[in-house]
Structures are given as structure tokens and as C-alpha cells.
Symmetry: C2
Subunit: 506 residues, 2 copies
Amino acid sequence: MLHRVRSAVAHLVSSGGPPGSGSSVLPTPASPNPIAHPVAPRSPPAGAERGTRASGGAVENRGSFSRPTFLQLSPRGLRRAEDHAGRVVQSPPDTGRRLPWRTGYAEVINAGKSRHNEDQACCEVVYVESRQARMGGPGKSISDQGNQGLYFHYWGLFDGHAGGGAAEMASRLLHRHIREQLRGLVEILQDPSPPPLCLPSTTEASVSLELSCPGGSQPCWPLQKEVTHESLVVGAIENAFQFMDEHMAREQRNQYAVGGCCALVAVYLLGKMYVANAGDSRAIIVRNGDIIPMSREFTPETERQRLQLLGFLKPELLGNEFTHLEFPRRVQPKELGQRMLYRDQSMTGWAYKKIELQDLRFPLVCGEGKKARVMATIGVTRGLGDHNLKVSSSTLPVKPFLSCFPEVQVYDLTQYEHCPDDVLILGTDGLWDVSSDKDVADTVDKVLSSFEPNDPSRYTALAQTLVLGARGISREQGWRLPNNKMGSGDDISVFVIPLGGAGSYT
Amino acid sequence: MLHRVRSAVAHLVSSGGPPGSGSSVLPTPASPNPIAHPVAPRSPPAGAERGTRASGGAVENRGSFSRPTFLQLSPRGLRRAEDHAGRVVQSPPDTGRRLPWRTGYAEVINAGKSRHNEDQACCEVVYVESRQARMGGPGKSISDQGNQGLYFHYWGLFDGHAGGGAAEMASRLLHRHIREQLRGLVEILQDPSPPPLCLPSTTEASVSLELSCPGGSQPCWPLQKEVTHESLVVGAIENAFQFMDEHMAREQRNQYAVGGCCALVAVYLLGKMYVANAGDSRAIIVRNGDIIPMSREFTPETERQRLQLLGFLKPELLGNEFTHLEFPRRVQPKELGQRMLYRDQSMTGWAYKKIELQDLRFPLVCGEGKKARVMATIGVTRGLGDHNLKVSSSTLPVKPFLSCFPEVQVYDLTQYEHCPDDVLILGTDGLWDVSSDKDVADTVDKVLSSFEPNDPSRYTALAQTLVLGARGISREQGWRLPNNKMGSGDDISVFVIPLGGAGSYT
């Protein structure tokens, strides 16, 4: 079956650079062979990222548009990738070195919605040198001090809007911000005892204050909370998103990065997979045919109450243009005095209220599904960038309503023996708009069962099939694809991350 | 087995008033026989509540403490119910008329934690007369106009704190507020077509305004949302909680009602069960042995981020006494300048921060589990009342951080054929502190299987067993109870609502 499919879709799929043209070297592979490095080696391998402090570093201004480096596109390949008419699906070359964990990847540009593909992607193995090692005195090499760093594996999808700058910047720098946040935790995460609640400072504070306890002499807080290693990693990823967002704010003032992006990243560290999502991309694990959701979408609909609460508490953010109340349709001036359905920040149900003058303002949140908008402007409520985004025909900033914080879900890989068909799928909304979780799980089963378990190209073939399916390639063209009435006209990017089988990350 | 149990626990259980003393008449039974009235009868049955507008009505000042009227306690029974040493479990009399749906109920006072039992309960069948019928002109009777009212069945548990006034007031009035909110919906809920988004007013508005649309001429909101009948009922219940809370604010100024209460209510209307929870009580359905959670608890731990966000956006609510940041233990003055674990309103993980002077303030949220507190004062974050609650030794009000809004979950009874062993359990935290959902489900199975399916006393026996178990009665006393190390010292109240079998609500 597969051979027929392969030939049928061959003209729709392109795998990276020209055959034999340096496809054995990834531009920033971080490590020559993922199998070769244990989690905490004595010294970082050549090529592992270890240097510049991202938050302080200058942003490289590439000037022109680019695709993920691991695609290894030649100038001609780049032109093909930007062809809205052909919409060729792009994947890394299937010869030579592969992405870590044999990760599969595929992407396709939109059908003319924007000039460039505004999705970006990143896949890296990142070495985290401990802060203590970096602060070692002159004349001492890192290995002399016996400080062992940590590795994490990293996959990121960035779905840009209003320009590709933010997505591109995030794809190049977010993992560095994560590394910075983890740097101070290297020794703590490798120590099995619970993390210290308080760390000494180098300068001694000499303040003497009396602590008062509300309620007087009662011991109001006798115990201390136990904090897990896992929650430190979650906190590090959350703060890395915030630093990345602040970094963009500085650069947007310098006009390097424009627009905003959703960010969905997976971080594998010390046996656990951390999936962090800010936006409307989605991650699922397909394990033994079962679907395990690993993210939630953040949209004007799912975050309605958070947005309305902010508008209620800070009405100055609404200007005189918006009301924090939601109505099922626009209120008309002639309806003043009548009673209309509404809901506020505290309600999930609806009730009637008498229409007053301020209810004629535009609702902060309106519309449904893909048409839902905050301030009639943007359809996602979390992500990076958008610092200059204003309400159309207005100077009112939208950013105060957007959150840069991801929701992080943790999956412990040591709790289950995974087989080669168990995968983590990361996809931008272009995939999920037209494919349900079930569609994707069915395709996982169909494609992977048609390959040998050890065939290294099976995960890329799966990513390609998912993208082709979402693009709307019909069955007649040789593949039994998800039952789409119409393919997505959006950019589509998909990572397929195998969770077991190859043993490449033990 | 049961007879042995019955005799073994007989001295611990009391069923209402003295035998034969009027136990065939409930004080406010609302309907003589639940089977006799369909959902929308032509005219309300004698005794159904139909009159006074609760929000405007005066509060009956009972003066002294009371127990739910359906317990039909004599003065002597009331004294027994208030005996902390015996802690006799109270239930409605098992002769004569029962609670609607054969509902089981049991309660017990605490072990001296407060003087009175601060839990209260209510079980009613409530008739909702349509607003149109009420507005009928003089000389026309209700039945003349052909307007049919609606019934809803209602169960409420109210777990009081800092006094029993709020719980007692809520137990007498919340269902009336719900009735008021439903009154304008009577015709709409009985009309199968979608609810109208806008209702005409009696006075015509004559305003002509130009509506501007952000983004200019684009059709920014082409569609209208569909609103379901179900979401109207949810909105009505949500707003009834708010009106009840405002009602208490007015009465607390008049010093009638003191303290606050958690509220957990179930409303059965037109085939659906609406379970609304504000506080740390809990509802579960046990269906064919499976557990279906019907509520979530609202505590400083589960609502941490909501509370911290409010403190962050409105720092004036924290005075100079509290910080919105959370720390795993109290920060000491000598730790100034050191780095301590913390998390803010956006984080679920933890990270280190350098301790500054304002971090020495007491955290808005602290402690764990039952010891978690908001402002070192209160352990629940939703409920009714508490309008005068201040931080100990301070004038800072706690109320701005408490929400009176319930979360409403809906269960459609028509989607499943229920057997007589399928029940909805409502319990105050005294039950759930020492019994897990699984413990309760096991007890449901054990007790109900020892009775004939048609035995009307089986649900009261189950409620009694659950309360006895949570009170900590050991197995040696004749019953295989949940595996508690120690019984709850709190007030405990439990409703057992059968979902099928008797056909009493079709």
C-alpha cells in the first residue's frame, strides 16, 4: 500500500536540500548522535549550545524570510516552499543524519492567506552548563571542577500572525531562555533530595525586623510546603516564556520583530516530557491507540472569563470603545430599554438584562469558534509578541489582554513502556482545524503499521501524511486520509516525536 | 446483616419527632405526593411556594437556633441534636410522608468545634408562577389565562462558619431567589424553539445612534450565538446566588445574619439536574458503581491564581499587610537578599527570587490542605455572606477575595435509564474530609444491596451510614465502614437523592 502512496504523493512532498548536498550535517545539531550522549555527561559535546545569554544577546537580523534550518533548504528549495500554488509539503532530508529521536517533521505554506509561511519550528538538543561551573575562577577548566551539566531535548512550533518576525525570533531564542532559567537549577535537579526552599546569597543581609502574624500569637502557618523538582522545571519554562516576551518587547521597539506568535514547545528532561502551550496549537500523545491530550487551546472563547474579569477590574483598558459584558449578537441602538441576553465575568450561563447606553459599546469578546475575537482584533489570547498590536482604527492596545504564560503539562516517560508506535504529535492550528484527535490517531495507526518498526523514515512519512491530509489531498490521490470536507488553507506544521522503541533517549 | 447493624447503631441514630406525633405532615412539603404532580400542571398544588418576592421580603428572625424543618424535631429532639457528647445522627422520621423522591438525609453535630450545628439543609418542591400570570389584570384567575407554571425540585446544604446565621438564612431563602430568577423564563423554557436573544420592553426606546465597528466597514460579527435553554437555567441559578449574597449584605447591616456559609444545591428542572456549588462541599453521582463528580471544591489552593490575580491588579485590597506572591513558608527578615522559592498569579510551577522588603509581608494565600487560608483567615473562597469578615487584628475586609458565584454542572437524567441504586450524594466537608469518593461509592453499594429496591427507608439508612462512617464509628460496632483512621470532628450533613427506580419524577 505504501509504495503506491509514496508514488502518488511524491510530487507533493519535498525532503529538504538537494540530494547529497551536505544533508549529513545539521546546522545546529547540538550533538552528533543522540544515542551517544547520556543525560549528564562530563563535558558538553561539540556543537551543543552553551554560550551567549539570550536575554542580553543581540538579535541576529536575517533580513529576509527563512525556513527552519533543519530543513536544509537550498535557494531553489526555499522558493518551492514559498509557492502558494503548489503547496509542496516540506520535510528534512531523508538521507544522512536525522532529527533527534528520529523525530518526523512536515510543513506546508498556506493558500495565499499571507505572503510567507508564518509558522516556524525548532528542534534542538541543548546543554545546560551549571551556573557554578560558569563562575569558576580563571585557570580552572569546567571538567576540573566536576560540575556536570544537563541536557534537554527541545521541540518548538511557532504559529505567527501579523508578520513572521515574532515566530522566527521565538524559534531561534526561546530554548536559550529556557536554558538560562534552568542554569541555576542544574545541581538541584540532579540532587534527589527535595529542592532547598531558600538559597544563600553571596552578600549577607543585615536587617532585623519583627514579623507580625495576622491573628496575633497563633501559629498561623506552622508547616512548609514541599516543592518538587518537576515544579521547578515547570516554573523555569513559564518564566522563560515571560523573558522571551519581554525580549521581544525590547526588540519590537527596535523594529526587528513584528507581529506575534503562538508557541507550543516540548522539553524532555530527566525522564519527563514537559509540554508548554500558549495559543491555539495542540499536542496529543497517541499511545497504544489511546489519545492523551497534552495541551488546551487558549482562545477568546476558552479564556472569556479571564478577559472579562480584567476588563471589569481595569475598565480603563477598554477605553470608551468596549464593554466587558458579552452579548449573543451586537446590540442595536433601537433595542435600548429592551432586555437582551448577556453574561459577565462570573457567569457561565446566560440571563436577560435591560439594555443601557454603555451596552451599545462593542463587546470585549465576541464571535464563535475560529471567528471569536478579543477587541474585534485577534483570535488567540496567549502567545509571544504583539506588543504593538492595536485595535483597528484606534490607539487602544490589545496586549494587556494577552498572556504570554503557557500552560505546562507533564508526562512521565518512565511510568510506561512505550512501543515504537507511541508518539507525541505537535501541530499548529492548520492541522487541528480540519483533523480531529481521532482522525490523527487513525492516521498514526495507518501509517506506522505500514512501515517496519525500525524504519527510520516512518515518523517523517507520518508527519507528511498528516500535513497532506490537512491540506485536503483526497483519497483518490492514493491515500485514505482523514475525512475532510475541505482542506486547511492555513500554514500547517507538524512534529511527530516517537516516545519509545529506538531507545535513543535512555 | 442489616438487622444486626440496625440494632447495633440504633442508639446512635434518631429519626425525627416522637413516634406518631404529626410525622405524617411536613411543615413545607410543597406537594402531598411527588408522583401526583407532573412537571407543568394546570395549577399549583396546595402548599407549593408561590408568593413573596424573596429579595424584597423581610427576613424572619427566628431568634434561637434551629434545625431543618423536615426533621420535625420536638424541643427534646432539638436538645438531643445539639448534644456534642452523644453526637446522635438525626434523620427525618421514617414513618408517614417522606421527602420528595424518597430522598435520604442524615446529619450530626460536631465534637464541640462550635456551640451549634452550623450546617443547615433544605428540601423543597417549588412552584414557579410565570410573570405574565402574576401580572394578569384584576378579575382574572391564573387558570383563566392558560399560563402554566413550572416546578423544580430543590435540595440545599449550607455549611456555616463564624456563626450559623448565614447558613440558616440561605436555607430558608435561596430557593426563593432561584424561583424569582426563573419566573421570567417560564414560557421560554416551555417553548421548544431557541430562546429569544432580545425581549421587547413595555416602553419603547427612541434613540438613534450610529454604531461603529472596530476595523471599519468589515462585518466583524456576522453571526449570532445560539443560547440554550439549559444555559438560561444555569444563568438563573448563578444570579440567584448573587441576589442571595446581596440580600445577606443588607441583612448583615441589620445584624440579623452573621457569618458566612458554603452552599451546595441541586435543582431538578425539566429532565435535568443542575448541581451548583460555592465552597468546599461536594456532590457525586454513583451510577452502576461508577463515580461521576458533580462539583469541584473552591479553596485557597484551588483558587490560588484567581486570588493572586486580584491582589496583583488591586493591590489596595492587600493593605500593607499582605503580598500577592506565594512562598512555600514564611519568609524571615534575616533571609532578606537571599533567594527563595515563590510563585505568582501566572505560574503553576515554582522559581527562585531574591527576597525584598515587601516579600516579608504575609502571603495572601498560605498553607496546605485543610490548613490553607486566604489572608490567614478563611479556608474557603466561595460562598454566601461573610460581608463583615475582617482579617484578625485588622480592619482589612476579606470579602473582596470571596466569590458568591457557584460552578454549575448539569446532568441530563433522560440520557440514561437509572436503576434504584443510582444516587446523587450531596455532603458537607465533614463527610469528604474522612471519606473518599470510593469509600462513599462502596458504602452506597453495601447499604442499598442489603435493602429491597422498593424499601422506602433505604436512602435514609444510606445517609445515616455515611454520616456514622464519617463520625468514625468503628467496624466492631457492627458495620463495615469506610476505612477511616479517625472520624470527622466537624458537622456532617448528607443528602442521598435516588435518580431512578421509583419513577416519582417522570
